[in-house]
Amino acid sequence: MTDFQQHALQLADAQSSPDWLNDLRAQGAQQWQSAAWPTRRTELWKYTPLVPLQNGDFKRWAEPAGGWQDHIEQIDLDATRLVFVNGVFDPEASSELPPEVVRFGDASAEQKAVISEHLGKVVDTERHLFAALSNAWVAEGVLVHVPRGQRLPKPVYVLHVSTPTAEPATANSRVLAVLEDGAEATLIEHYASTADEQNGFVNSLTEVVLKDNAGMQHYRINMEEENIFHLGGVHADLYRSARLRGFTIAQGSRLKRVDYQVNHKGEGADLNLQGIYLPRNSQYVDYHTNIEHCVPHCTTKEVFRGILADKSRAVFNGRIHIHQDAQKTLAELSNKNLLTSNKAEVDTKPELEIYADDVKCAHGATVSQINKGALFYLQSRGVSRKEAEIMLSFGFINELLQEVQEPAVQNYLGPRLARLFSRDNELLRHISYE
C-alpha cells in the first residue's frame, strides 16, 4: 500500500458519517487498500501518471470557507440548488429542497432504502479505483429520486466550490440519481474553484439509475482553475428504453480525470454523450468512457472534441463493448482533437470490442491543427489570421455547444468559451455570444 492510500484511509477514519452507510464504507476501504496502485503499465492509467497526486500531501479534509460568491458565477437558472463548499453543504446558498431531492443525512426510511439499494451498486469498483475510495469516504451526498411517471419540474443544480486552503486538503462529492419507470429529470453538476492557487483534491462520483422508459439530461461542467486535482466518475445503468443525454466539459486542473461508464441493461436504451475538453497552460485532462452494450437493440452516440493549447495534455479513451447476443446495436464514437501548440500532446484511443455480429459500429479519431484551407478561405475574405483562428477553433466546439438542450447552460458556457479563445477582447464582437 502506498503512502497516499494510507493517508486516504486515515481520512476515512477521521470522518463522521451516518451509521447505515458503514457497510459500504468498510467495503470501499477494503478494496482501496488491497488494490494495486496504478502505474504506467496499468492500461487504464497508461498515459496519466498519478505521481503528482501522490506527492500532493493530502492528509486533511477541507474546511468550509466563505467569500467564494465574488469569484464564481453560477449558472443562471430556476433550479433546485445545492451548494457544497470544499465538500461541506452551504445551506445559505442552497435553495429549499423538493421531496424528490435530499441529502443522505436527512433521508427518510424510504429514501434510505433507495440509497442502500443503489449507492455503490452502479459503479464497478474493481475497474474504478477512485470509486472504491469514494465508497470508503461516503458521508455527505445528494439523492435525486423521482417516482414513477413523474417529471421533476425544476432541474437539480449541484454546485461544488473549491477554495484555496492553508494546507493541501481533500473533498469528496457524491450524487445518486434514481429515476423510476417513465420518470424524467435534469441534473446539472457544476465544479468550480475560486482561484488559481488551488491545492485541493476533489474525488467525485455520480451514479445514475434510469429504469424503464426513464429519461435524463445530465450535465457535468468541470470549470475549475489551475492546480486542482480532480478525479471523477459518472456511472449509469440504463434499463428498457431509458434515455440518457449527457454533456460534459473540462477545463482547468493540474490533473483531471473523468470516467464515464454507461451500462445498457435493457433493450432499446439510448445514450447520447457529448464532451469538450479545453486544456491550456500545464493542464492535464483525461476522459475515459466505457459503454457496455449488454442487451440487444441499444444505441450509443458519443462525440468528444478537444482543443489543446500551450503545454497541456489530453488523454481520451473511448471503449464500446458489445456483449455476445447484443444484436442490432448501433454505436458510434468520434473523437477529434485540435493541437494549437507544439508543446501540447494528445493521446487518444477509441476502442471497439465486439462479440455480436448483427451490429453497426464505427469509431473515428483525428488529431490535427486548424485546417489551412479554411484559414485561407477566411483570410481571403478579409478576416485577419488571428480572428480566423479564433472563429475556427470556437466553431469546432460550438457545434457541440449548439446541441446543449438547457438554454441556461448554453448561455453560461457560450461567452465563457468565446472569451477563452479570444485572449484579445476586441475580437469578441465577431462572436455571437457577446
Binding site: N342, A344, D347, P350, D357, V367
Partner: protein
C-alpha cells in the same frame, strides 16, 4: 443461408495438412546456455555471434511473457520445446536442386510449388526453409550478377560477417520483447538479403516456410538491407502440416531501408490453425519491424489466415525526412483462432507519411483484434497518417476488436483513424443471390471485395494465392 449449409462450409478441412517423414538431427527438449552454445557451434558461428546470442538469452531469462494481447492460450513450457532440428541430408550440402532430398522436394510439390518449373516460369528465386536449415537456393547466380545477396542467414554469417554484424539487431534489438529475445538467443536460420546501392532487384525474392518436426519451435531470423536508392520486393509464404500439438513460431524480421530505398514485404501466412474444436495449431508470435531513412519507403502487406494464435505487429520507424510507411493487412480467423495483429507507425522525421489499411474477418468462434499505434514525435513536422480498420463479422459467436493508440506531439501532424464493424449486408447478399449466384459464391465475392484494397498491393502470384486461400478458409462460414 440455411444453418446446416453454414455448418458444412465451416467444417472445411485444412487442405495443406500432411506430414513428411525425414530423419532429423534434433536436439532434446530444453533450453539453457548449453543449448545456445550448441546451436551456435553446430552452425560454426564466430565468437561475436555466440556472445550476442548469450546476451539475448540472459536478457530473456529476466523477462516475462507479455499478457496485454487480446488472446488466451495455455502457458507455454519453453523447457518442453526442442530448439534445433535440421534435416539429415544437411551433412553434405546439396550443390544443386538435383541433390536435394527428393522427399523434401515432393513436400513442396504437394503445396503446389514446383521448384524446377518455378526457375523457368515464375522467375522467382526460392530460399526454402524446411524446419531450421536452408536446403536449396535458386537463382543465386542470376542475382549475383546484379550484386544482390540472397542467402540463408547462416551462410551470410560466414560469407558477409561485416554486413550481418552491422545490421543484425539494429532494428529489433535483442531485448526488444520476450519473443524477440528468445529468437535472438536460439534463432536457427532464415534469409538474408542485401541490395547494393542503386540496384533494382531483378526479380521478386521469395521464401517458403514449413514447420515439419514435431515439438520443434521455429525461430526464423530475416534481415533485409536495402542500400541507398535500391529497390526490393520480398515474398514470404507459409503453410504447415496437420498436427495436434501446439507449436511455437517466434520469428524476427528486420528491414533496413537506407536513403531513397524501397522495401516491399509481402506475407501470406497459413500455418495450421487447429481443428474445428480449437485443438492444435501454431502459436505465431512474430516481431517484424523496418526502419526507413530519408525518402525511403517500407511497405508491409500481409494476408493472415492461419495459426491458432497470432501476435504480430509489422512496424515502421519513419526516421528519415519524407519517409513512407505502409501497412496493408487482411486477417481472417475461423473456428477457435485468435489473432491480435496490427502495426506501429513511429513518425520521427519531417513530412513522413503512413497509411494503414486493415481488414479483419472473424467467423466461427474466433477472436480477431486490430491493435495499432501511430505516434507523432515532436519533430514530425507536417507528418501524415491515415488509418482505416474495417471488421466483418460472420456468425454470432465470434469477436472483432479494435484498439488503436494515437499519440500526437506535433500540431502540424495530421492523424486520421476510422474503424467500422458490421456483418455482410443482407442487401448485398440478396442482390447477388437474385442474380443467380448461390449464397456461398456471393459471400466469397463480397469478402473479396471487402479485401480488395489490400489484395491489390500484393504481387501477382500472391494475389492469386491469397484470394484462393481466403475462399478456402472462409468458404461458407456465412449466413
Amino acid at each position: 443461408m440455411a444453418e446446416q449449409e453454414v455448418e458444412h462450409l465451416i467444417r472445411k478441412e485444412y487442405a495443406a495438412g500432411f506430414h513428411t517423414d525425414i530423419d532429423s538431427d534434433t536436439l532434446p527438449p530444453g533450453l539453457n546456455e548449453d543449448v545456445v552454445r550448441f546451436i551456435s557451434a553446430k552452425k560454426g558461428e564466430p565468437e561475436w555471434l555466440l556472445e550476442w546470442r548469450l546476451q539475448a538469452f540472459r536478457a530473456w531469462q529476466e523477462m516475462v511473457e507479455p499478457e496485454w494481447a487480446h488472446v488466451k492460450y495455455p502457458d507455454i513450457d519453453f523447457q518442453a520445446l526442442s530448439y534445433f532440428s535440421a534435416p539429415k541430408s544437411m551433412a553434405d550440402r546439396p550443390q544443386s536442386l538435383d541433390e536435394v532430398d527428393p522427399e523434401l522436394l515432393r513436400t513442396y510439390e504437394k503445396l503446389g510449388i514446383p521448384v524446377h518449373e518455378q526457375e523457368v516460369l515464375a522467375g522467382v528465386a526460392v530460399d526454402m526453409v524446411f524446419d531450421s536449415v536452408s536446403v536449396g537456393t535458386t537463382f543465386r547466380a542470376k542475382l549475383k550478377e546484379a550484386g544482390v545477396i540472397f542467402c540463408s542467414i547462416s551462410e551470410a554469417v560466414h560469407d558477409y560477417p561485416e554486413l550481418v554484424k552491422k545490421y543484425l539487431g539494429s532494428v529489433v534489438p535483442q531485448k526488444d520483447n520476450y519473443y524477440a529475445a528468445l529468437n535472438s538467443a536460439v534463432f536457427s536460420d532464415g534469409s538474408f538479403v542485401y541490395i547494393p546501392k542503386g540496384v533494382r532487384c531483378p526479380m521478386e525474392l521469395s521464401t517458403y516456410f514449413r514447420i515439419n518436426e514435431q515439438n520443434t519451435g521455429q525461430f526464423e531470423r530475416t534481415l533485409i538491407v536495402a542500400e541507398e536508392g535500391s529497390h526490393v520486393s520480398y515474398l514470404e509464404g507459409c503453410t504447415a502440416p496437420m498436427r495436434d500439438e501446439n507449436q511455437l513460431h517466434a520469428a524476427v524480421v528486420e528491414l533496413v531501408a537506407l536513403d531513397n530505398a524501397e522495401i516491399k514485404y509481402s506475407t501470406v501466412q497459413n500455418w495450421y490453425p487447429g481443428d474445428e474444436k480449437g485443438k492444435g495449431g501454431i502459436y505465431n508470435f512474430v516481431t517484424k519491424r523496418g526502419i526507413a531513412y530519408t525518402n525511403a519507403k517500407i511497405s508491409w502487406t500481409q494476408v493472415e489466415t492461419g495459426s491458432a494464435v497470432t501476435w504480430k505487429y509489422p512496424s515502421c520507424i519513419l526516421r528519415g525526412d519524407n519517409s513512407v510507411g505502409e501497412f496493408y493487412s487482411v486477417a481472417l480467423t475461423n473456428n477457435y483462432q485468435q489473432a491480435d495483429t496490427g502495426t506501429k507507425m513511429i513518425h520521427i522525421g519531417k513530412n513522413t507519411r503512413s497509411t494503414i489499411i486493415s481488414k479483419g474477418i472473424s467467423a466461427g468462434r474466433s477472436q480477431n483484434a486490430y491493435r495499432g499505434l501511430v505516434r507523432m514525435n515532436p519533430g514530425a513536422e507536417g507528418a501524415r497518417n491515415y488509418t482505416q480498420c474495417d471488421s466483418l463479422l460472420i456468425g454470432d459467436r465470434c469477436g472483432a476488436h479494435t484498439f488503436p493508440y494515437i499519440e500526437s506531439k506535433n500540431p502540424t501532424a495530421v492523424v486520421e483513424h476510422e474503424a467500422t464493424t458490421s456483418k455482410v449486408s443482407e442487401d448485398q447478399l440478396f442482390l447477388c443471390q437474385q442474380r443467380g449466384l448461390d449464397a456461398e459464391k456471393a459471400v466469397s465475392m463480397i469478402v473479396n471485395g471487402f479485401c480488395r484494397e489490400v489484395f491489390k498491393e500484393l504481387p501477382m502470384e500472391f494475389a492469386v494465392e491469397a484470394g484462393k486461400l481466403l475462399e478456402v478458409s472462409l468458404e461458407g462460414s456465412v449466413g
